[in-house]
């Protein structure tokens, strides 16, 4: 069971590297925001995998629950910023 969870975790991180390519490449800022949201949701799963490997899942479930609640706030705050500013480039004073 432990080796299976290790292989599953390593596969998950490898797939997260593919999503990282979208973070680097994404033409607009919203593409990067979407990819960071996906990475955040998967890191909840990675926390639970670490918990199973350590053998003490009851410690790590609290952290995963707390992070699952907070992942939502960053995406909502960023989209609220862009709803106020109405365009995706930067304007305003420079310096």
């Amino acid at each position: 069971m432990n080796s299976f969870i290790t292989i599953a975790g390593v596969t998950l991180i490898g797939l997260m590297l593919l999503v990282l390519i979208r973070v680097i490449k994404g033409p607009t800022v919203i593409d990067r925001l979407v990819a960071v949201n996906v990475i955040g949701t998967k890191s909840i799963v990675l926390l639970l995998f670490s918990g199973i490997l350590f053998g003490q899942l009851d410690m790590f479930v609290d952290i995963a629950l707390g992070y699952g609640l907070l992942n939502f706030i960053v995406s909502i705050a960023a989209s609220r910023y862009y709803q106020h500013r109405k365009s995706l480039e930067q304007k305003g004073k420079t310096s």
Binding site: L15, I30, V38, T41, L65, G68
Partner: protein, 106 residues
């Protein structure tokens, strides 16, 4: 009980493979949001259900632990599609145009 856990985790990983390839290869902002919002939420829920069965295999699963993982599933299921909706709203207001096969609206 182990094999149910293996099955759910493998199916969840297959969905996540689809999500990440879709996020890379889709040509347009809206289609990429489809891949990210739906595929990501579903694969997370499936892997977490597999984790409930995997913990049951390790001995001393009390029902509180399974209940907490169910709570995580609940909040991911509510929060992640709402975040996708908010980002899609922003993209539409900023004027992203849907992809056309002839390459007119890029």
């Amino acid at each position: 009980m182990e094999y149910i856990a293996y099955f759910f985790i493998v199916v969840g990983l297959i969905f996540f493979l689809g999500t990440s390839i879709g996020l890379l290869r889709f040509p347009d902002f809206y289609t990429r949001m489809h891949a990210a919002g739906k595929g990501d939420t579903l694969s997370t829920v499936l892997i977490l259900v597999g984790c409930i069965f995997a913990v049951g295999n390790q001995g001393d699963l009390n029902w509180i632990l399974a209940l907490k993982i169910l709570l995580i599933i609940n909040f991911v299921f509510i929060g992640s599609p709402t975040a996708t909706h908010a980002m899609m709203d922003v993209g539409e207001r900023a004027g992203a145009k849907p992809w056309n096969k002839k390459g007119e609206n890029k």
